[in-house]
């Protein structure tokens, strides 16, 4: 069965008409969002793609067809309950084989973004190094988190400048990034630390790492949720760039416009 035969019902999920670039070239860019059983922020990632001006395409974990998408987002959630290890079961999904193959192969390979659980899936799938363990305080933590964009040259961060700070919601239970020192040194040395926690490390992550990329920069994973800082009124209460109104933070939108602009060239 393909994902188009039965669309996942989206009661209460009208696609917003206020996209940044409804008829422009960005809308030609098709960004797939994968739904696994237990994915939670899949609709939110699709909304973010739409608000950034792109076309969001629903992908189903059990399919073998990437539907010619130009980029893929693996969204947040608790796929398969995160019961074994976060992301451990999802990495074996049929669609993940396609994604892994398409994402490996240099800078022109398929851009892939893993958010939270998606980041965990990417590490389990060995597209990104390291792993996530339980937060050092052992609690689920939901808060507005200040990050620094360390690398503005990846496919997903081109709209930022290196050193720029952003405020993005963070919400997870297993968010502590760990890797051995050699891997950490390598990540630092190659500029592959893409996002770093600023002010306070929320979970004990090694070297305050919030997000990393592969060598080519097309695959990026991060624990905070940029798709929850894309729409004024429903984001964080603050922004690192300007004074914003109630829940007015949209610092995460750049992640999605970055990949669209990159693909349009």
């Amino acid at each position: 069965m393909t994902s188009t035969s039965i669309e996942t019902p989206l009661i209460g999920d009208v696609q917003p008409s206020t996209s940044g670039d409804a008829d422009g070239p960005l809308s030609e860019v098709r960004v797939g969002v994968v739904t696994f059983p237990g994915s939670l922020d899949d609709r939110d990632a699709m909304r973010a793609v739409t608000l950034a001006g792109g076309s969001a395409v629903r992908l189903w974990h059990g399919d073998h067809d990437l539907q010619d998408v130009d980029a893929v987002i693996i969204p947040g959630g608790f796929s398969y309950g995160d019961y074994l290890r976060a992301g451990a079961i999802s990495r074996f999904a049929p669609l993940m084989e396609q994604i892994t193959a398409a994402a490996s192969g240099g800078t022109d390979a398929l851009p892939v973004l893993g958010i939270c659980n998606g980041f965990q899936v990417l590490t389990e799938a060995h597209l990104l190094p390291g792993s996530m363990i339980k937060n050092n305080h052992l609690h689920f933590l939901c808060r507005d988190q200040r990050l620094r964009v360390e690398n503005a040259d990846t496919h997903w961060t081109g709209e930022y400048w290196a050193g720029e700070e952003v405020v993005i919601p963070l919400k997870n239970q297993d968010g502590q990034f760990v890797a051995d020192n050699r891997t950490l040194d390598e990540l630092e040395g190659e500029g592959r630390v893409v996002f770093r926690y600023v002010d306070e490390n929320p979970n004990g992550s090694r070297r305050n790492i919030a997000g990393i990329s592969n060598t080519a920069g097309n695959v990026v994973g991060l624990m905070p949720h940029p798709e929850h800082a894309v729409e004024a009124g429903f984001g964080p209460d603050s922004s690192a760039r300007e004074d914003v109104g109630l829940r007015g933070g949209t610092d995460g939108l750049g992640v999605f416009t970055s990949v669209l602009r990159k693909l349009v060239g």
Binding site: T8, P9, I11, L40, D44, F78, Y83, C142
Partner: protein
Amino acid sequence: MTAEAMARKFNIDSVANAAATPGQELPWAELGLTEDEYRRIEEILGRRPTGAELAMYSVMWSEHCSYKSSKVHLRQFGDKVTDAMKKHLLVGIGENAGVVDIGDGWAVTFKVESHNHPSFVEPYQGAATGVGGIVRDIISMGARPVAIMDPLRFGAIDHPDTARLVHGIVAGIGGYGNSLGLPNIGGEVVFDSVYQGNPLVNALAVGVLRHEDIRLANASGEGNRVVLFGARTGGDGIGGASVLASESFDSSKPSKRPAVQVGDPFAEKVLIECCLELFKASVVEGIQDLGAAGISCATSELASNGDGGMHVELTNVLLRDPSLTPGEILMSESQERMMAVVTPENVEAFETIMDRWAVEYSWLGEVTGTGRLVIEWDGETIVDVDPRTVAHHGPVYERPYHRPAWLDGVQADAFDAERAGDLRAAVLELMASPNMCSKDWVTDQFDRYVQGNTALAMPDDAGVIRVDEETGLGVAVSTDANGRYSYLDPYEGARLALAEAYRNVATSGAEPLAVSDCLNFGSPEDPEVMWQFAETVRGLADACQELGVPVTGGNVSLYNQTGGVAVHPTPVVGVLGVFDDVARRTPSGWREDGQAVYLLGTTADELDGSEWANLRGHLGGRPPALDLATEKTLAAILVNCSRDGMIDAAHDLSEGGLAAALSEMALRFGVGARIGLDELCERDRIDAFTALFSETQSRAVVAVPRSEEVRYNDMCTARNFPTLRIGVVDTENQALDVQGYFNLPLDQLREAHQGTLPRHFG
């Protein structure tokens, strides 16, 4: 081993056997039935019940499922509803949850329920499965769940057992709710030693649907198929009922039955998506979630609400534990299960959707035209009943009640203790106290972002969720209860709980529309508790009528008592309001320099039952007076202010009075204010302490932009509602400056406010 293979191992107590052995007594007392109830079952059936029938009747006639002690009182919620109140009601009391029309073809369903006792026994799983249960109620109406809230009450904050309960319950709610992808948008956390052995763990869920998607729990259409899907059936929740097992199991002893239920949020998340797909494809005719009383409840309610009967082959039930007897299968409370009625033409489509989500299902039987619920075990009839006698015509008790003799003494004992000379220290003490302190430690463990539609969440007065992304149409929800007020006067306490939830919703800017309640009480067999209950229902029904908001559904939790000591009567009231556009919702904190701070309403000397009295260990006197007409005007003003853009912040006054409201408004965005109390004290003839700590009702503080002051004052004058400018927002000065009394730096206030929970539980 399949159930079929096991079938032969049981000595089945068939209907034929029951008819042939009329003298055989069954263990009705062990199953919680009284002798009268047992004789009534015999009378209904014209013979003794079979073991399986007894199992069904015993769980369905329990207090929890039948409302046998509360029913005579709860009728008032229906009797006191006017036609005007019904205007927005698409589905009222009696279904899994009420459904309210919010316009543009959208509807919202919401309900609050308790999971008190299970959460005391196993805090994590008890609280988790409480969330699971209320969410399934919402799904079974045809709705997508969009938010949850959790009103919680614990024992004393420093009691050795409280940390166990707080850690387990908070983690359980988070563990389950976060995994379902439901934003947790509010709730309450209250500490009081009366809840020591009986914590109250209530859970509210909100769902959204289109009018045409409403699903009801009924089995209609002869020949339609009945299917059970979701998790497998285990021995969950029947620990106490293993007497039946020993009756009918002939190979040694039955395996042990779990004392608690374990939740599987992943299974529930998949169940949500798969049910929504079923609804969208119009594949199910009727649907019912399985909660308390499991298959007994689902089959009897579906059949009873339908137009015919139902025939079920019980060996088709997929089991997790093959040693379960028929009676146990009927009683099992295993989580994450649903039952649906499907036309034969839709069977294939149904199975396709199940397979896509890898959800297990089994076809149990079909809808019949007999008017009977017939359940077979491997072809032998073990249940043959009129389903209405199980589901709806259970016993009804008019329990005796009387006003407690001690109440006069308590009400005469007004608060006249220390009124604190040092107001600065008093505000710090109040804001650091267990009930008034910041609940961030709890709410930071809940996801408030998921689904991307959260417009307000804690610590604001109400949770606000966008429903329609095109228009901004949305809803606000708030829950409230004050057990201390209810202890002093249960009739007034219920009205006050409703008034506060109503006020909270209006403060956020939404038009209050409907009510759900969870009534937490001690034993109904104690006439004094029963009086508290009767007074509460009377008060709530009266107040709903006066405010014009109907009760759409809810839950009663009785027997919350240990060693003869009952919890305070605690009617948790949830109010749902509607926004034409959530973009205009009002936050509970100010942020713009120079905006005027106004107090709406007047202040009297009302400290009985207050948080300040609580801090001084006093509980006596009368709760604050309440005039619902005033409350209604206040709400209209707040909604109007939001609609016309006259205010930028609003916060209602309730527990902790003006002191708490000003502190919370300043801390919300970390912006200070200069406040003057002299004019207020003079106008209302009170002292500064009373101005700050009295809990007089129907008040709110608002922040008004300079440009709107004239319009704002004109509107209040036109509505003849008292309002007074008490200060100004001051971004320069990071302090709450109450002129002539104290200057409290926000850092210091924040430290006191936020330090309490981490200090006890961090």
